[in-house]
Amino acid sequence: MKLKLLLLALALLSVLAFAEVTISVVACSDNADSLKWLAEEFMKRNPDIKVEVTTLSWEVLYPRILADISAKSGAFDVFNWDVMTAGAVSQGCLDLFEFIKQNPDLVDPSYDMDDLLPLAKNLGIWDGKLVGFPYFNNTMLFYYRKDLFENPKYKEEFEKMFGRPLRVPTTWAEAVDVARYFTKSYNKNSPTQYGIALMFPTTHTMFYMYLIFFGPYRRSVEGLTRFGPVDLDYGDYFTADRKPAFASDLGLKAFEDMKALMPYSPDPLGSDYGETLEYFAKGIVAMVPQWTNPYLQFKSSPALQPAAEKIGIAPMPGRSVAGNWALGINKFISTEKQKAAFKFIQFATSKWADKEKLIRFAIAPVRKSTLEDAEAQNAIPWVKVLPSIYADETFRPRIPEEPRLEDISNINFAKILSGELPLTLDTLNKLANEWEKVLTK
């Protein structure tokens, strides 16, 4: 009898052990906290599925995902990937359109695909396949010191100096005067040491920073007439016929705008994301172009208290740039795991999760319903400005060659900005030739 009971217990235990499916999620550090929290919530509702989230830095994440896809090892079941790597990552991601067709029973009736913001959803589509649900609709914002811009003393001084009222710049040309005014070495009465914190290092940062300057030209009437509409796969760097658009007089103008602002920024070529964030958080600068998520850091910075009075948020003077993230499923894993992974990514991008991750972690929403939600708008001030930004933001190429193009460009852009290379059309044409070589390889 005892033996029978023991065997029964063992059988039950083994059934329970095998019943639990474990899915492994690999995520970028920007999304990891929210994904870990969502995983906990998901497991409460789905005790038969265990979710483990592994955090990797931006630099390590792609090679890790690609190595996994290339080896078909299935080390990770869910990939949290930057949409600009869509072309490369798509080779190892499940087509969710097809998966939904084949597994209608797994689809949550309240998921509402039409509620997903069009660009956020489209950036997860590659070659007609939905290779990822949109997770983080990141975009660049223009943070400024609200208290300084509203101070009557500075308003009066600025008007005396420049003959126009002090206001949050709407173009980069306007930003130059404002940045100059708030730089101590040009205006000894400036309340801040520098006007603006710019990040032009030789890292991936440079590639998106250039777009916030080139974007206004590329998307202008002249730009659209000359280069054609922006292709969803090739992005704003390219013309409609897939030639480098920056190798033009408009591309040069973008560099001139960047150079014009550099004297009013602390070490622009040596500063990256972390440094510029600190410069604004510590009150060293009056303005900074930054992503959505640093808002929580600014909000808790002692130098920016009370936050509601000191932190202003506006659309980018030029154009913003998209920094979206998606959640995709590894196609080289078992069907059972794919189903569990689908349940999780569906949960993590649901209406409820979209609002919760915004309020708790400042993860920019991918759904219209969240943008329109009053609670969400009150919780994070930039929610109100997002619709206008999303309507015309620029984006980087999503083709598989993107990383190589990015590396060549980052180096050459830094050389142009440092004066090592002359700012001429010839320089840009040479870079365009390098791009062509990569694209035709």
Binding site: L66, G87, P201, T202, G270, S271, D407, I411, K415, L417
Partner: protein, 295 residues
């Protein structure tokens, strides 16, 4: 030795041999194989044999060539500075009151993980909050954009490298100085040599073999410089501080995922290192200096 002993011996070293084959020989051979293919992780259907194309591409690759420039600068500037500083420290520390404490203190940079050291230096060099600029301001100098200008960025990377690896030179030379034959030193002293003259005419010549080996080890290591660049400048501004190893990493892992081309870069590094080491060994006659050969 009996055949049983031989067999036992063989089985005892077998795990080490297998480990060496799996962890070193196989990856190395696979890297060489990859260097002749167009394997690119970002594209499906790659991995075909392309002959010497990756190698001929390197010759035309401006970024690869500029990486050679900075790597060569590191060898020509950082290594001699490390050697001189390491030698000076090992000489000057002897007989001091706090010799043991100083000896331990000097070794700390070498024991700090490269990533931690690099991050620490990044903070020290910060334009606004960095203590280095703070002290420069105190003595009336302007703040320096350490990572924003070519020359200062190169200097910064070299400072990190020198800080981290001078202790290695110090450690070897300090140990070598302790081990010098006492009778020769005593004979020198009897002949009237002391202090600087004793060092220059007796100790330094005796140290020569160790100096050469240390120099060789440092050159090999500097050729592989990666961490200090990765943690501070990321090769910038432009490609000013990109070393060969760092460029290979970017091509293979960080930006390119171009395993074929990256493997070719790594193979070239191995070949260049091999040639350099061989040439130096011959020129400096290291084998004879160490008493390993009669040439």
């Amino acid at each position: 030795m009996t055949s049983t002993h031989k067999r036992t011996g063989f089985f005892m070293v077998l795990p080490a041999i297998v480990l060496f084959l799996v962890m070193t020989v196989y990856p190395f051979a696979y890297m060489i194989y990859n260097s002749f293919t167009n394997l690119d992780l970002s594209k499906s259907g790659t991995g075909q044999f392309v002959g010497l194309r990756n190698y001929t591409d390197i010759v035309r690759d401006q970024l690869a060539l500029s990486s050679i420039e900075f790597t060569a600068l590191m060898v020509l500037i950082a290594v001699p500075v490390e050697m001189i500083l390491g030698l000076a420290l090992s000489y000057l520390i002897r007989g001091l009151f706090a010799e043991k404490a100083l000896r331990s203190l000097f070794l700390i940079p070498m024991m700090v993980p490269a990533a931690v050291g690099g991050f620490g230096w990044k903070m020290l060099f910060n334009f606004i909050f960095g203590p280095i600029n703070y002290f420069l301001n105190l003595i009336g100098l302007q703040s320096i954009e350490w990572f924003g200008k070519i020359n200062t960025a190169r200097t910064a990377v070299m400072i990190v490298e020198i800080w981290q690896w001078t202790p290695f030179v110090f450690l070897i030379l300090y140990a070598a100085l302790q081990a010098l034959p006492k009778d020769i030193l005593d004979a020198g002293k009897v002949d009237g040599a002391d202090g600087w003259r004793l060092f220059l005419h007796i100790e330094l010549p005796l140290l020569r073999p160790i100096l050469y080996v240390t120099l060789l080890l440092r050159i090999i290591d500097v050729l592989r410089t990666f961490d200090s660049v990765y943690m501070t400048t990321y090769g910038g501004p432009g490609s000013a501080t990109s070393t060969w190893s760092f460029y290979a990493y970017k091509v293979t892992v960080s930006y390119g995922w171009n395993i074929g081309y990256g493997s070719a870069l790594c193979v070239i590094l191995v070949i260049v290192s091999g040639i350099l080491i061989n040439t130096l060994t011959r020129v400096l006659n290291i084998g004879r200096e160490l008493g390993l050969s009669k040439e």
